[in-house]
């Protein structure tokens, strides 16, 4: 293959290091603060860059969806080496379910003219529904290979090692296609200083759901409503001790009490 164009779906999420919170009015995850690139998506961006490099030409584009016009996560992926992005940003997207999200992202992919390969993560780190890539494949009429842990393109054919419950399957697939990649498929690069500077001037087109011709979105299109939020029964706090060199005896005693040794 002389050139290969890849589109990566990236999600910008609240920093997972900060404790999550629900919006009191809607019971959805609060996403109003600073958003960062979901760590799970760094693997897809890196995979895309490596495949384009191996093909000897082409480019990596990004699609993302966020309620508040946030682009800092997209800039991270652009700094890694992606060429451009489309951000679907619209307050009406608040509360969108996975199916609506897939419709929006698929429309954004079509706005970019499609690609030889579409890459997503197996699931996001904040919502983790885990169905969006496969839903996009169906909307776009593409074959798909989910849970890819090793990916190459040989003679225009996609070759994937697909993770299974107790090992992996070797899968081949014609292009164009869609894959979801596991964390660890490749080691994401750190953006270089030059990459960070270059990312500032790379094009990110901002569009609304209506621009893509999609309605209804947000809660209106979700087909589900949150009826209750409750605290789970907390586990009783246990005994926590600082190791004094002899605390392994506590563990042995604990195991003896349960009659497992």
């Amino acid at each position: 293959m002389g050139a290969m164009n890849v589109i990566v779906c990236v999600k910008q999420i609240p920093d997972p290091a900060a404790p999550g919170a629900l919006d009191g009015a809607t019971n959805t995850l609060k996403r109003d603060g600073k958003l960062i690139l979901d760590e799970s998506d760094g693997y897809g961006v890196e995979m895309a860059l490596q495949l384009v490099d191996a093909a000897g030409g082409g480019e990596v584009s990004l699609v993302s969806m966020a309620p508040n016009g946030e682009t800092s996560g997209l800039r991270t992926a652009l700094a890694m080496g992606a060429a451009k992005g489309v951000l679907v940003s619209d307050p009406a997207l608040q509360g969108s379910d996975a199916l609506t999200t897939a419709k929006i992202l698929a429309a954004a992919i079509q706005r970019l003219g499609g690609a030889d390969l579409i890459i997503g993560a197996t699931e996001s780190s904040d919502g983790y529904t885990g169905t969006v890539p496969e839903q996009m494949a169906e909307i776009l009429g593409l074959p798909s290979v989910t849970f890819a842990k090793k990916v190459s393109v040989e003679g225009g054919t996609l070759k994937v090692d697909r993770q299974t419950e107790n090992g992996y399957d070797e899968v081949t697939c014609a292009l164009p296609a869609l894959i979801s990649v596991t964390a660890g498929v490749v080691e994401p690069r750190y953006p270089s200083f030059k990459g960070i500077m270059a990312a500032k001037s790379k094009p990110v087109e901002e569009v609304t759901a209506a621009d893509l011709g999609i309605t209804p979105v947000g809660w209106a299109g979700a087909g589900q409503k949150i009826s209750n939020v409750a605290q789970a029964e907390a586990r009783q706090a246990g005994e926590i001790i600082e190791d004094d060199g002899e605390s392994f005896g506590k563990i042995i005693g604990f195991l003896e009490n349960l009659k497992v040794i």
Binding site: L99, E170, G223, S227, A232, A234, R235, E239
Partner: protein, 319 residues
């Protein structure tokens, strides 16, 4: 609403239905008297599927095509033929998610995943999903007309035989998939493990980043063997390539509920906690006394796993 017809996406391994399948069938038969098991292949497991509550089996032979698109297309043809299930239950795993996702687009219905419970109030069907590491339970009610698509985590329900007769098997053909059917399995690799299976073991010993480097994982395996348990791992060390994915405990790995869970060098990220919080007894060893894992531990040792694990191993060997 009454649930007149429930479909359950069933899976089998070596001809025997998986435990997740039997759990879902048990729950389904408590919600409806018509339960259809959907299974890839030839329906050889119809005897056990019937025993646990399936009244019919739809067998879909997809050959070497990845099951997601093939099975979803076959189900769409059944729905187009006039049969409308009110609810379709899926296991929260690879194939379950893929079939569910493809079907949701074909019938334009929402999906709710990662559930641990379901109820039918008569006014609506509600599922329960744990978030924030299982500290908060969100109940979500489906709106509009079915079929409702819901995926459930393993071990959400207890599997109990109903003593039912073998279910009648109907073969459902896979329609022409066109371009979407291009993904084909060319070889299958099974990673062999010895000892009890991770998600069935009575004792699980798991290791994480706190082990420092890959060779230290041998301590986890040695302790697991001495206790006749199974070794497990956090996502961090699976991603780092120390152990295969099949060892992973957590949201994207196995859900375990053993009698004793020993977490060594694991801080307790949400992703890990949702896979092991249901354990009856939890022992944690970690250097950082602020680690979240201590919030769920019955016995917590603030210490170095490189010192404590060898001491436990020596003590057990000396008995």
């Amino acid at each position: 609403m009454a649930l007149n017809n429930i479909w359950v996406f069933a899976q089998a391994s070596n001809g025997a239905p998986t435990s997740a399948t039997l759990e879902l069938l048990t729950k389904a038969r408590s919600l409806s008297s018509n339960v259809v098991a959907i299974i890839g292949g030839d329906g050889a497991s119809a005897g056990v599927l019937g025993e646990y509550g399936a009244t019919k089996v739809y067998a879909i032979n997809h050959g070497s095509t990845l099951p997601g698109v093939a099975i979803a297309s076959a189900l769409k043809s059944v729905i187009d033929g006039g049969e409308t299930p009110d609810l379709i239950m899926f296991p929260q795993n690879y194939e379950g998610r893929d079939v569910m996702a493809r079907l949701s687009v074909k019938i334009d219905k929402t999906v709710i995943t990662n559930n641990v419970d379901i109820s039918d109030s008569g006014d609506g069907v509600t599922v329960v999903t744990p978030i924030f590491g299982g500290n908060t339970l969100v109940s979500t009610t489906f709106t509009g007309a079915g079929p409702y698509l819901a995926a459930f985590r393993p071990k959400s329900f207890a599997a109990e035989s109903a003593g039912g007769a073998a279910a009648a098997v109907t073969a459902i053909a896979v329609p022409d998939l066109g371009a979407t059917g291009a993904a084909n399995v060319t070889a299958v690799h099974v990673e062999e493990t010895s000892g009890p299976k991770l998600d069935e073991a009575d004792i699980v010993v798991s290791g994480g980043r706190g082990l420092g480097e890959s060779p230290s994982y041998a301590l986890i395996e040695e302790l697991a063997t001495l206790l006749k348990g199974a070794p497990g791992a956090s996502r961090a060390i699976v991603d780092a390539g120390w152990v295969p994915y099949s060892y992973q405990v957590g949201q994207t790995g196995k859900v375990v509920k053993p009698t004793i869970y020993i977490a060594a060098g694991i801080s307790g990220a949400t992703q890990h906690m949702v896979g092991m919080k249901g354990s009856k007894n939890i022992i944690a060893i970690n250097k950082d006394k602020e680690a979240p894992i201590f919030g769920v531990a019955d016995l917590g040792i603030v210490g170095d796993v490189h010192k404590v694990l060898p001491q436990i191993i020596a003590a057990l060997k000396g008995r």
